[in-house]
Amino acid sequence: MGYRAKFEVWRGDSSGEGALQPFEVDVNEGEVVLDIVHRLQATQAGDLAVRWNCKAGKCGSCSAEVNGRPRLMCMTRMSTFDEHETVTITPLRTFPVIRDLVTDVDFNYVKAREIPSFAPPEDLAPGEYRMSQIDVERPQEFRKCIECYLCQNTCHAVRDHEENKEEFAGPRYLMRVSELDMHPLDVRDRKDAAQEDHGLGYCNITKCCTEVCPEHIKITDNALIPMKERVVDTKYDPLVWLGRKIFKREDLEARHATGRRSLDDAGPGNGSPLPADSIGPVGG
């Protein structure tokens, strides 16, 4: 059942220079894109840089753009492509390239550090925490996050706007604020900080982050909009109202149907050669 597939893989370094390198390589039944990258390493390009750990969608290391779509390479099956189609793998566009498919994701660690940590009630001894399942379920959804940074890579507020990186924590870390806010035992008030320190206001609830999340976390609906609503208790934000109105499921599907995604129209931020519209009909 094997066949020979055509691949194009971004080879480049931290200077920002690089090019797509074409390969022809064997593909066997049941394989995923990461298997093919490994085969290239073992047989044709021993120094091809790629980041991965678990190969089971659990660690969030192997993020890249496959035919322009942000994906985990270990969870993208080769059977989602036509055998004649050339599969193009490029690094995440929003972060600086270190080498080949590996990007520098330190931005995310910096943002993580800016969020005040969990603050339990002071008089509660270990072993005495009581929480009901129903109350932990909401924040638990967000704790499924494997920190693949695909949402961070996709959100146009950073993808298109390098200058926002300073003030905007991005969906993953706004979700973290929301998670702590929903923690049944957290005593800190977080809603003002969300708006003022972490840039919740930059989010205009396009839901692109939700679309790419491999854990299927409803980032926008369940984390960001509720957070905005909490903020809106004191401040009026027309987007919340708009979001409820406009971005219904059908609208998202309609946008898919046109083949257009809300990623960006800007040029390649880190040398990635693909314009946003080249996102092919792959992998769902």
Partner: protein, 640 residues
């Protein structure tokens, strides 16, 4: 030799404690050492938050008694010793059983959100070898919760430091994507470590009087494994080279249920919770074959009919558990045998069926990532069809010999905790006992290192020659151009271990394996790499290969020597458990040979169990493992 211009400059960094590894054990050790006022660096091969621990699924064992109030540390202790067939270091098993609940509760104070019981306590689930539901869990992503919680605790400590010093990293710094290649000593004592940044290839020398090894396991020496690329036995090899000893290396756990299809995912874990939550194993004839494989030592604790086994899920007090939940070594051997005798599935496994036993809703709620994993990787809907599963190399019981209370090794200043340490699990680890092990002994290692520093006289120093030698070793693959390919040698090594030192072992096969490993030992120094130092996987693998080889030699030598079958070590030619071997541990160390250091194997006695712990067991059970003289001390003989 260090040179700015050609990229081989070495930068120097000083800390009180170096923690090598950012999994559960390493992070818990770092937290403890930091909270005791030490300046700590954490070094890890992968990104912060992605260590192997993230993959753990089922849960963390601690006798909190939330699901069954009859549970307590004594029951947990007994289960652990039974699971390890009494080869466990009893003191480690005791500390582990006693301290696991505290360590789990502490996670809640860091922000962890476990699944809950109706009373709002931490929910606990059933697992193989545990008498009561004991595993705290978060769906089937418990390891992710553990890692994230500890990661966030580290961040919160950094925030405290920032408030005090203006620098998040003043007292606790993570160097991620950093590989340690060598440890340094000053005389007998540990003095620091050397390694490279994976992204850039820059070399760093750390000066630190205390080093905690928390590097995890060795699974990448085997072809079919649930382990990631990180598991190349680096910590085991670093310890050996620094003069420490490894014990129990013959004991490698093959998890009974890894995926077998498609070939590219062969080995990926299917969590034991599938069985804990009601899944059963069937052969190609539709038979629940595990009932035929209950060994004598466990006969009293397991159901003998399907009805009884099924009743147990709802009424565990009045029924015995189904044999699908026997310890892992038993289940793995049974599956192996079914396949060998021609009752396997098309892809060479057996069937794991939960679809016909639980509702779709239940399965998707309790096992979401398994559902996801099979759907995405194998196109199998586990709520509708059975899974195909077979044994996969999963965990190494063997590891660095440590003092149970302080996690110190025989090398002053060197500590080890987590999977890299040996002794705690004896010949076989129970599911869920690793995550608790990480926290209990990670914490103790951090404390042990802090205490060691408090009693330290003059600080040890790193010698220049040692740094030059470590640098030369790391540079070597760049000067050997193209002779041997690291990927090819790695595949040969994996195939050798898989075929010849795998789940069922024989003397002639292991002798053959040792011969092949000796050949690989000659070839590995000839591995050359292409490309530069920046994020070069070929170079990384070339460096890791030396460690995999050394660890594989330890496993094969110890496995050949132990002429019995026990836990994770099964000999075709010595199928029985032998009481005399229960008193013996095998240890590996390095000795000078004609072509450099060689692995050597020695025997050492297994310390006798403290009488009050011995008395926790019934005499009848002990008789299955012990003979004559040692049984004399039991309470039954003292008329109690």
């Amino acid at each position: 030799m260090a040179d700015e211009a050609d990229g081989t400059a070495v930068s120097h960094h000083s800390y009180d404690v170096l923690v090598i590894g950012a999994g559960g054990a390493g992070l818990r050790a770092a937290i403890e050492a930091r909270m005791r006022g030490k300046r700590v660096a954490i070094l890890s091969k992968s990104l912060f938050g992605k260590a192997h621990t993230v993959m753990a699924e089922g849960g963390i064992a601690a006798s909190m008694g939330n699901a069954n109030p009859r549970d307590n540390w004594e029951v947990h202790y007994r289960d652990t010793m039974r699971g390890g067939k009494f080869l466990n270091n009893w003191r480690m098993a005791e500390l582990h059983a006693k301290e696991a609940p505290q360590r789990v509760w502490e996670l809640e104070t860091y922000g962890a959100l476990f699944d809950r019981t109706p009373e709002g306590k931490i929910s606990q689930r059933n697992f193989g070898g545990h008498q009561f539901p004991r595993l705290a869990h978060v769906g089937d992503r418990t390891g992710l919760e553990l890692i994230r919680t500890l990661q966030q605790k580290i961040v919160s400590l950094q925030q405290e430091d920032h408030a005090r010093t203006g620098d998040y990293e003043s007292d606790l710094k993570v160097f991620h994507e950093f590989t340690v290649t060598e440890l340094f000593k000053d005389g007998d004592r540990i003095a620091g470590a050397f390694g490279y940044r994976r992204p850039t290839g820059e070399y760093l020398c750390f000066h630190a009087p205390a080093v905690v090894l928390a590097t995890g396991g060795i699974g990448k020496s085997f072809k079919v494994t649930s382990n990631s690329w990180e598991y190349t036995g680096d910590g085991h090899a670093l310890a050996l080279r620094a003069g420490a000893r490894l014990i129990n290396m013959e004991f490698v756990q093959f998890h009974p249920t890894g995926m077998v299809w498609p070939p590219s995912v062969k080995g990926i874990l299917v969590t034991e919770s599938v069985r804990g939550d009601g899944g059963v194993l069937k052969n190609s004839e539709g038979e629940r074959f595990m009932f035929r494989y209950i060994p004598d030592v466990f006969r009293e604790q397991y159901a003998t009919s399907e009805d009884e086994g099924d009743r147990w899920y709802d009424d565990a007090d009045n029924n015995r558990r189904p044999p699908e939940l026997l310890p892992r070594d038993e289940v793995a051997r049974a599956i192996n045998n079914e396949v060998k005798e021609g009752r396997g599935s098309p892809a060479g496994g057996v069937y794991l069926d939960i679809a016909s036993r639980r509702t779709t809703e239940f399965i998707r709620k309790r096992l979401p990532s398994m559902y996801h994993q099979f759907k995405e990787l194998a196109d199998v809907d586990i709520t509708a069809e059975p899974m195909e599963v077979g044994p996969t190399c999963h965990y190494v019981m063997g590891g660095v010999e440590v003092d149970p209370d302080t996690a110190s090794t025989v090398v002053p200043g060197l500590f080890a905790a987590g999977e890299v340490a040996g002794g705690m699990h004896g010949s076989n680890r129970l599911g869920g006992n690793s995550l608790s092990d990480l926290l209990v002994f990670g914490c103790r290692a951090g404390a042990g290192a802090a205490d060691y520093l408090d009693g330290l006289g003059t600080a040890p120093a790193v010698g220049n020659e040692a740094v030059d030698a470590a640098l030369a070793e790391a540079e070597k693959p760049f000067s050997v151009r193209g002779e041997e390919n690291a990927y090819t040698l790695h595949q040969e090594l994996q195939q050798t271990m898989n075929d010849l030192v795998g789940i069922i072992r024989r003397a002639d096969e292991m002798e053959m394996a040792l011969k092949r490993l000796a050949e690989l030992r000659d070839r590995i120094p000839r591995v050359g790499v292409t490309g530069g130092r920046a994020y070069n996987p070929g170079w990384h693998l070339a460096m890791d290969l030396r460690n995999m080889l050394m660890v594989s030699q330890c496993i094969a030598m110890a496995a050949l020597e132990r002429q019995e079958s026990r836990g994770g070590h099964t000999r075709d030619d010595y199928p029985a458990m032998d009481e005399n071997w229960r008193r013996e541990l095998l240890n590996c160390s390095l000795a000078d040979g004609p072509d450099g250091p060689e692995v050597q194997l020695n025997h050492q006695p297994q310390p006798a169990m403290r009488p009050d712990l011995f008395d926790l067991f019934e005499l009848d059970e002990l008789k299955k493992y012990y003979t004559g003289d040692e049984l004399g001390g039991h309470r039954a003989d003292r008329g109690m």
